[in-house]
Symmetry: C2
Subunit: 205 residues, 2 copies
């Protein structure tokens, strides 16, 4: 049966256009909004419109921000020599939460994926090369997904950055802390044996 109101139908369609939200959930969300006051719904809808229109991207690292430079790029206490390359903003949050990294970031905006029509020119690779070319960065840490696309992008960046005097590293891959060997997949376990670390190094943490 069709919905009794085309306005409701449009709201449901909009919710259902979001990733991971089906029509049943969309209807539940739309009916939830109908029970809110008009002011609350107005604030709800306008929050997205304002965000889309006013959010900017940091001119240096391409993180989201509301000013020319993001709060991390403006922080003089961070280490200029270290640069962490990530896919998107959520990865910055994840790395920041570890409190293990005090350098700067560079957001690519995705990974090279010919299947999805994403080529090197769609990503912030040129600006990364320019940053490295300035000479202040001593180490570039590639922190991309361990997918085929991530690996391809890693290799492409490695080739692009090879002419410069800079160490290129990737974050360690291995058995997650708390995981049991029995349930770890073979590729991960194999890699963690291949790239084993001196025991003393684990003590210093």
């Amino acid at each position: 049966m069709d919905l009794p109101s085309s306005l409701l139908d449009q709201a449901v369609e909009q919710f259902a256009s979001l990733p991971g939200i089906g029509r049943k959930t969309a209807l539940r969300l739309a009916l939830h909004l109908l029970k809110q006051s008009p002011e609350e719904v107005s604030a709800f809808g306008n929050a997205f419109i304002r965000m889309r229109n006013e959010v900017q991207f940091c001119s240096r690292c391409h993180n989201l921000c509301e000013t020319e430079l993001c709060s991390i790029c403006r922080n003089p206490k961070r280490e200029v020599a270290l640069l962490c390359v990530v896919e998107d903003m959520r990865d910055i949050i994840a790395v920041e939460n570890t409190q293990q990294f005090k350098g700067f970031y560079h957001v690519l905006g995705g990974v090279i994926s010919p299947m999805d029509g994403v080529g090197p020119n769609d990503l912030q690779i040129e600006s990364l090369v320019n940053r490295v070319a300035e000479g202040e960065i001593k180490e570039v840490i590639l922190a991309l997904s361990t997918t085929m696309e991530g690996d391809t992008t890693n290799f492409y960046l490695y080739k692009k950055l090879a002419p410069f005097e800079v160490n290129i590293t990737t974050i360690a891959r291995g058995v997650a802390i708390g995981d049991e060997l029995e349930y770890t997949d073979e590729v991960t376990l194999g890699r963690s044996i291949l790239h084993r670390t001196p025991y003393e190094a684990t003590l210093s943490r």
Copy 2:
């Protein structure tokens, strides 16, 4: 870590205010919107604002609509003698999908629930009594949830409608079609034995 933009943060907050959506999902949804064009996001936000401001309720059955009467109440082919009482609009869709009911509906807007501060006066009970008092309705089918609140509401409506010459029925409760007895809960199975139906009645379908 805080989000790098208060605008993004507000959008995430708004998504997270929806039932069943946590902050991680909210962030994913907000970042999805950031990748859409400003026009698309504008259509997204405005769909909810328009819906909230312009949707009306049918003056007879309290279903959602955009005119004085909803499409079901305006349909002259439906049976005036049958009235199905439901909690909310979604139940109308569910009943309509069965194609087994050709009467009219009455949307209560919820069930009596003192715990949630919902009393009889918060529901469309008076207008239901008025509709029944008109005398055209011969049977009122109570199709509320089988919760304690639903049962309480059923009993309250039964008392309110008892003075009128009208049959009051509830939808059948029993083992769902396709279910195995082994996995049916005792209360449902017990009820389905108590309210067993003549075998011939099941053949006529």
